[in-house]
Symmetry: C2
Subunit: 698 residues, 2 copies
């Protein structure tokens, strides 16, 4: 048995993060080195890149304002009001918060930069065969994966190295989450606004093709794919990853204080760093043969990463003498994550019954598309809920006996380690997920650049693999968020008890459902995700109306636009999508945060315990329903388009298109934003615990 101090492990974590960045840089250069010779593709690609940059700049400017306001608030009130005298702690908290936002923003920026290059390269490479085209798409995605996980591990390690304080980590995590809330929901509103507006005015009103450059919204639409799917998803998983480590470290540092030593903090960093290492190796191993199957290539690299992680952590546990039970919790989380991903796949895969049923039902009209898709979406909730429940239960029971005197503390720590385990392979997951929009864009570029049918066949195959894998990664990321927020519930209690001890009042032993405050919080908390997702969807609706008006204006005022003799003002549409997205997002995000503050200041920490629980339960339910129903409708439409149930332009196809349009904001705006919403609410509750204890009405 070897003993290494937690500080050493933190330094090693930083080094592995640097390794991940170096590898990301190598991948980035590799992608950039790939040839691109088609002027048309280059031109459209540049427009998309500029649009994405415009959006990010605007978004980050708004975020900066929000961050400054939030930062002032944090400085005054957190972790405890400034008039209590400890200004230093408040300053650290503010710095940690800003660091969280900055790290997250940088990871998103890197992802966008590479994605808007890799799409061009992948399209071009398809001329030489599937192998190079796949590698361009996958390695482009992997840059994002490495950057996100590298940034999260490095950020957490640096903050902890400098502060040695779990609460500061919650501040860092809140910074990451508040950015993710903007990036994911804002990106989601942006992309669906542009998508719907472009389709309505272009395809429906004018009868011009989907990617016709005369349409002022067409670049905004392509930009949306990047900012919504690449940057948004990256910010979301950055946020989950940081939150899971923060929750584990809050409990680990409390355990270390009680037991003595730094074992548990070290363990969290060790397992997280090995996850990044496993992901690096997994990305390196990703290969596809000349005529290989891209879906298999993506899935097998996920399984390889999982296996490598299991072996590496087992070796570390043996060598460093860690508790095998905690290792077990970690691996349970990982395996359940994979299993949930596979179960999710069943409901959205176009070779399985649900997609066939919905496609067949579409023959009877759009109402049946919606009803059958909603039904399967509702059914799809069950396996994930059971899976999350089992992993939490197993982790708890595994770690409970470690120390009889601290059974609950170890048990809750076990749950947080299950979340860390589930998120350990997140570098690989992001790589797979970001691959999707890149090859999707590549397919569009190949079509616009007239690269020929053979190339389109290849890009179609790559795109289809992206869709299949996306379902798995979406299920995975919801499950990971679920387990993370359960762990945050434990972190919340830990924070409350620390504060209660300092204030000399009684702490919490739990949250009793039969306590009416808890139950009240539970009911209100359960309503928040419903309100949040409704506001986002109504936001898309209103924003699309604004953009449609602008498109009409351009067609009326710009002479020659209709004939293709003048260029449209693409940036005006991008501005509208951007401004609208951020305007519509702010109220929804604020409602969630303000509701948390209201419940906390009215009902106190008991009500907040119920509130978080209700929020988790209904957030998971709606996120799973919306993501899976949306994915199912999307694939049912594609299934019909591929010639089934009447094929393109049949009645079934028209109905399936309605399903797909409903599914778009379900799966790309509201559904995935709920992940972030439940995390943000949990973090706000933990950060505010002292204030809730001191100032609540009841």
């Amino acid at each position: 048995m070897v003993t290494i101090s937690a500080t050493t492990i933190q330094i090693i974590s930083v080094l592995i993060s640097i390794l991940a960045f170096a590898y990301a840089a190598w991948l980035f250069m590799w992608v950039k080195r790939q040839p691109s010779s088609n002027a048309r593709i280059e031109q459209v690609g540049a427009l998309i890149r500029d649009g994405a940059r415009t959006f990010l700049r605007k978004e980050y400017l708004v975020l900066l304002r929000f961050a400054i306001v939030a930062g002032i608030f944090i400085f005054i009130f957190l972790p405890s009001p400034i008039w209590n005298g400890n200004i230093g702690a408040n300053l650290i908290m503010v710095i940690a918060y800003f660091a969280g936002t900055i790290f997250s923003a940088i990871a998103g920026k890197i992802g966008i930069e590479v994605a808007t290059i890799a799409n061009i390269k992948s399209a071009e490479a398809a001329k030489k065969g599937i192998k190079l085209s796949f590698m361009a798409g996958f390695r482009g995605g992997a840059v994002m994966g490495m950057a996100v996980v590298g940034a999260s591990l490095m950020g957490v390690a640096l903050v902890y190295l400098l502060t040695q304080d779990g609460t500061a980590l919650l501040g860092f995590s809140f910074g990451a989450s508040s950015l993710a809330l903007f990036a994911k929901a804002g990106g989601g509103i942006f992309t669906k606004t542009a998508d719907i507006s472009a389709d309505l005015t272009g395809k429906v009103e004018l009868g011009i093709p989907e990617d016709d450059p005369r349409n002022p919204a067409v670049i905004a639409d392509n930009v949306g794919d990047n900012v919504g799917d690449v940057a948004g998803m990256g910010a979301d998983l950055f946020d989950s990853n940081v939150a899971s480590m923060a929750a584990a470290l809050v409990m680990a540092s409390a355990l270390d204080k009680t037991v003595g030593g730094t074992t548990y903090v070290g363990m969290v960093f060790c397992y997280a760093a090995l996850g990044l290492l496993a992901s690096i190796i997994g990305v390196m191993c990703a290969r596809i043969g000349k005529n290989g199957n891209p879906t298999n290539a993506l899935n097998s690299s996920t399984y390889i990463t999982t296996a490598i992680y299991t072996v590496l952590t087992a070796i570390a546990t043996a060598v460093l003498g860690y508790e095998w039970r905690i290792w077990g919790a970690c691996i349970v989380g990982l395996l359940v994550g994979v299993v949930i991903g596979i179960a999710t796949d069943y409901f959205t895969d176009d070779s399985k019954k649900p997609v066939h049923f919905v496609a067949h039902a579409s023959k009877s009209g759009p109402a049946f598309t919606i009803l059958s898709g909603m039904s399967y979406g509702l059914l799809s909730v069950l396996p994930a809920m059971i899976g999350i429940g089992i992993s939490a239960l197993a982790a708890y029971k595994l770690c409970e006996p470690i120390n009889p005197a601290l059974s609950t503390d170890f048990a809750m720590f076990g749950i947080s380690m299950a979340a860390v385990g589930m998120l350990s392979i997140v570098g690989m997951i992001i790589s797979n997920d970001a691959y999707g929009p890149i090859v999707d864009n590549a397919r569009g570029l190949a079509e616009m650049g007239n690269l020929g049918d053979e190339v389109l066949e290849i890009t179609d195959q790559l795109d289809s693999a992206g869709n299949t894998v996306k379902a798995v990664t979406k299920g995975f990321s919801i499950a990971a968020a679920g387990l993370t927020v359960i762990a945050l519930l434990g972190a919340f209690m830990s924070e409350v008890n620390t504060a209660a001890a300092e204030m000399g009042v009684a702490g919490l032993t739990g949250f009793d459902i039969l306590n009416p405050m808890v139950f009240f919080g539970l009911l209100v908390g359960a309503a928040i995700p419903a309100v949040f997702s409704a506001m986002l969807m109504l936001g898309v609706d209103r924003n699309a109306q604004r953009m449609v008006a602008e498109i009409h204006r351009q067609f009326n005022e710009i002479v020659g636009l209709r004939e293709g003799k003048a260029d449209p003002e693409y940036n005006k549409c991008i501005d509208i999508a951007t401004a609208g997205a951020i305007r519509e997002l702010v109220p929804a995000g604020l409602v969630a945060i303000i509701a948390t503050l209201c419940v906390g200041f009215i009902g106190g920490v008991q009500a907040i315990g119920g509130f978080l629980t209700g929020n988790i339960v209904s957030g998971l339910l709606l996120a799973l329903l919306m993501s899976n129903a949306g994915g199912l409708w999307d694939n049912a439409k594609k299934y019909v388009e591929s010639g089934h149930e009447g094929g393109k332009n049949s009645e079934a196809h028209k109905a399936a298109v309605v399903g797909d349009t409903v599914g778009d904001p379900f799966k790309d705006t509201a559904g995935p934003s709920l992940n972030t919403q439940i995390t943000v609410v949990s973090l706000v509750a933990s950060l505010m615990s002292t204030l809730f204890l001191a100032f609540s009405i009841f």
Copy 2:
């Protein structure tokens, strides 16, 4: 102060029930005495009546089989396994169970009989003006209201008089619930199967009008309105009403045992009996002027009943020396119920923003109808959840200080009394609710009987009032079910603790969310309403396919049917709707019950506590979403049909029809069945508490 024993109050309750039955009989005779002279209306009316009877007979036959199997199971295992020696208790439980099913079945049967007469009378009476037509519809509905509440109060009082045992009441309540599960979900599948099939084949394929007698499904469609809306809704509120009294009495008898005396049991019966009395007076007061507004007439009789109840119970509380705090809990429940009903109205009323927004969005196509309706449906969850939370919290806090040594017991009893208070005016609510389908049918009959435009104008006005009031009563009944199951959670704990005391093991003090068993149960419990409603909706889908095939067969095989020279075989369609409804219902109901048993036998009573909570939270969420979105779509369609956003046959209208079709199984099959599902699951848990304590794996 006057002292009256609980037994006396129970006898008085039985007498008031008899009074209600007598009044129902008088109303029934009054309706029957109204003239009907139109042969065409008589003929169609008779077909509908026969169809409804056929359905009820078949449904009750299936239920009989289910009841026998359940009865055998109950006899062997409940309240404790028969080999423990106490056969008498098991026999009482079985008898109570059967009594519950029989009382509920009779109430449903009475409702159907009068509704299928009152529709004819109301159509005919419209020739003489709105006044008599309204009275025929309302008094027809009131027969149902009086019968349901009379039967529930009489049943509960008789069972308690004979057994003096709260647990036996749970058996009675379970009997009522299992019938309600069939009646509501089965009726819901029946009515939507027929509705969709008739529309698809008649209006869409053949282009014949909605109520064309050549369509083999047309009678099934009208039958569905009666069995779904009248009998199903009656069974649902019978079930909620019985369950709320049972929950209150379980806790009251436990309190009486501890404190001594029979005060609290007496109080439950007193308040419940006064509710029935207030409803009788309210129904008597319902009047409409010659040119009066039917909506105002219905709403004002609800407010009159509420006021009368408040005064009557205040007098009783003063005279009998009851606790004012408990009276307060009761009134809080009542007022919150009314407020929730009004809030629900906002989301479905065609003079309010949500309906206008959805109608306007429909201009952009059906996807926007669905998205905007879903969004408002999600928003509508908030006021009801907050209302239920506040009433539970207020009732708890009001009753907690009554006895410091028994604060939790009194507090939980307070919640159950809030549920009793909310349900006190249920006789009035059912009268208003059953009025809807009667005048809806009357409108159709008036059209088929060619009674002229003036009559149609009157029936339209009555129908529109029915729709408006329906939204209020639906919100009310979901809220009542919510509060009832919260009270049942208290009853469950009371049952567990009684059993634990007998077994000499530790009882429960609550359900801690951080207990992993509770959390596991919470997640699984939250998934069950999703699965249950998905199964019902898929059931409607499959069943409609069977019926469409049968309609096609009849048009192909029956010579002269298409030309109107031969009659279709209406009963075949009714048989298919009936058989299919029951076949599709059984798996859904069983999944809910079996999931409860699995969680209980695996995770024990802690897991069940979480399971019930998750089930309540997600059940309320989905029920509110589905009922309100469905009602909103229905009214948005009607709003467009009345000439807005392009009017009939516009693009907006086509889109609104899609919304309405999606909303049909939402609001009439899945949504309202969830009420019953959460009640059944709560009752199963309470009844099985001893077995879960004794035989669970963990």
